[in-house]
Symmetry: C2
Subunit: 208 residues, 2 copies
């Protein structure tokens, strides 16, 4: 793959956040896939249906790359943060991780059977995501498949992700963008996760 | 503290799930508080307002106990799972963790300035939670404070938590239960967390 050394300016601050030594990023993202990880039921059957090499875009700590490699799939990791690449190579030394971003795939001749983008496009805003999806499309072989996840919401909105600003997208909007980028959507699902609440309360005088 | 050796039957299956050697529980729960953990903004000011010892009920891997102890607070961990107690003691050897459940506090003479129950009551159903809250109330000194978190939802409902069955509660219902147990609610907040979505899409034939 062609890997230009300088990331795009907009992406640079996100990479810097993940690269920051004060960010306990491995603890935040996790380095392992646990036995009960609910995403396994989505990712593993998808990987099983691939007939050629898979690219894990934004592979982070390498947890999914390493997990799928351990299951026997031919998979490579691509990750712009040098610090995360180091984490991934240390934890999964037999897996091939390359430093680079989605933009770096634009001029690349490789054609993948599958591209996994698991919460990898969350930091891309409305100015960046449509093009990123087209680049991902161009990196797939004919009939190749993209499996991507994102944060859904009632409207496009930036929010403070623990590491760097991220975006929510209405699922319908994301489906339109994916289709416009040259994909035929196979399945999609939007799942309400837990709503977190807390209460602080002072002990009232005991009643007799 | 008085710590009966046998947990209650209903709680037993939850403890067994956390104790299971096939459950990668430390990876699931985390053993550290990261620099960007949003719960720090809730828990740290609360801890700072305590004037005496704090009990971390359901201390799990000891992450909050150890974090608050490292900040200089006098804090003890109480956790029914022996496996989690081992994790906590290994990671935070200078902190005092004791094996036991909320029920074990019922006959205990200790009176705490603060009780932290951070997602510790999530596995207690409608038959168990009201009594557990009353036991927590009885464990506080006059003016002592409870800080608890839970999963909110439109109605009381069981759901499959990664480790064991957990329950959602309407915030209004939880506020009533807390008040009925002898507390005056100071603050509460219910926050919508991220809605997770995914799409799988096949590359359409290239358009020319």
């Amino acid at each position: 793959m062609t890997l230009p050394p300088t990331p795009q300016p907009a992406t640079g601050s996100v990479i810097a956040a993940y690269d920051s030594p004060t960010m306990h990023v491995a603890g935040l993202l996790g380095t392992e896939i646990t036995a009960t990880d609910p995403d396994r039921a989505i990712i593993e059957p998808w990987a099983a249906s691939m007939r050629g090499p898979i690219l894990d875009v934004g592979s982070g700590t390498g947890r999914w790359t390493g997990h799928l490699a351990s299951m026997g799939y031919q998979i490579f990791g691509l990750e712009p943060s040098g610090r995360l690449i180091e984490h991934a190579r240390t934890r999964y030394p037999a897996v091939d991780f390359r430093q680079g971003s989605i933009a770096d795939l634009a001029g690349d001749a490789s054609r993948w059977s599958g591209i996994l983008a698991w919460y990898s496009v969350i930091h891309l805003g409305p100015d960046e995501l449509p093009e990123a999806l087209m680049i991902l499309r161009s990196g797939l072989s004919a009939g190749g498949s993209l499996l991507m996840s994102f944060f859904a919401g009632p409207r496009i909105a930036a929010f403070q992700h623990p590491v760097a600003t991220a975006y929510r997208w209405p699922t319908a909007t994301m489906l339109q963008l994916v289709t416009a980028a040259g994909f035929a959507v196979q399945t999609h699902r939007t799942a309400q996760t837990n709503v977190h609440a807390y209460i602080s309360a002072v002990a009232s005088p005991a009643r007799h």
